[in-house]
């Protein structure tokens, strides 16, 4: 099948790639751009391991066609820490609270949690649980994840 030339922005960088029209945004990020931080847990929109932001909107990149990225702006886990390597408070709190084990779900959860805190800087525990309901973690359990998000939110509000 003939490929389509896609020009887009990923984590602030201008990029382009040739996509088969059937390839998902997740395939394009991982296989064409080498950004393997976004994971495929299911490929069917159930697990959230592929969470990225498309023009700021949180999406499951396994459910978005790669060609849809044309002219858009994508944010992935690779763009979360500062260019100098300073971790985002969420990343630091996940390490401090041991909110990860195998880490396969972690990039997706961090991307989703960041989107939450930008929309709602002071979420209740239930709001965090509802927001992250689309992100499955099979190892850690959700408790430490919730605590890490709460702690990061407090720090970002300047309350910690």
């Amino acid at each position: 099948m003939s490929k389509i030339h896609v020009t887009t922005t990923v984590n602030g960088d201008a990029v382009d790639f040739l996509a088969d029209p059937r390839e998902t945004l997740l395939d394009c990020l991982r296989d064409h751009l080498g950004l393997t931080g976004s994971k495929e847990g299911c490929g069917t929109g159930d697990c959230g391991a592929c969470s990225v932001r498309l023009d700021g909107v949180l999406v499951s990149s396994c459910l978005v066609l790669g060609v849809e990225a044309e002219g858009r702006s994508i944010e992935t886990i690779e763009g979360m820490a500062s260019p100098d390597g300073t971790l985002h408070p969420l990343q630091r709190k996940f390490i401090e609270h041991a909110a990860l084990q195998c880490g396969f779900c972690t990039p997706g959860i961090l991307v989703a949690a960041k989107a939450l805190l930008e929309e709602n800087p002071d979420p209740s525990e239930s709001e965090i649980r509802y927001w992250l309901a689309g992100n499955l973690c099979r190892c850690t359990g959700y408790d430490k994840i919730i605590r890490a998000v709460q702690d990061a939110a407090a720090e970002l509000r300047g309350a910690a």
């Binding site: 088969d20 395939d27 393997t36 931080g37 976004s38 990860l100």
Partner: protein, 147 residues
């Protein structure tokens, strides 16, 4: 104070060390099996049984193999014969032999130059099944005459 906050005089027990792989995992740098790529790497797709129990009458991979970029189609015929014990188990569960033993049992695998091509080729592998009765509980599975 939650129990996991209790400090003790032990060197490690009761302390909260950061896990050494934490940094790689929160930045997306950690490499998992599916994150590796190599030059000339082939991609695989598996053909699975749509039946819970069926005799495999024939597997015709000629249409799949005719696609440019399809390098191999493997079936049980490519596996060693006569394995016993644990090894038998591994073999039976890895790929179906005379019969598919459950819905989703691997029947053939395709290797090709891209994942999409492998998936396309997998759809072209023609498997002729003779559907057999299946069992859904332990008692029926243990009944006389079952295997």
């Amino acid at each position: 104070m939650p129990k996991d906050e209790i400090r003790s005089t032990f060197k490690y027990i009761g302390t909260r060390p950061n896990r050494p792989d934490g940094l790689d995992k929160v930045t997306g740098r950690a490499r998992y099996g599916a994150d590796y790529a190599a030059s000339n790497m082939l991609h695989a797709a598996v053909v699975r049984s749509p039946h819970a129990h069926a005799r495999i009458v024939k597997i015709d991979a000629s249409k799949a193999l005719a696609l440019k970029g399809v390098k191999a189609v493997v079936t049980r015929a490519d596996f060693p014969e006569g394995l016993t014990g644990e090894t038998w188990n591994l073999q039976e569960n890895t790929i179906a032999g005379e019969r598919a033993l459950y819905d989703g049992h691997a029947v053939a695998a395709v290797a090709a130059t891209s994942a999409l091509l492998a998936q396309d080729a997998a759809k072209l592998v023609e498997v002729t099944y003779e559907v057999l009765p299946h069992v859904t509980d332990v008692d029926a599975a243990m009944a006389e005459g079952r295997r």
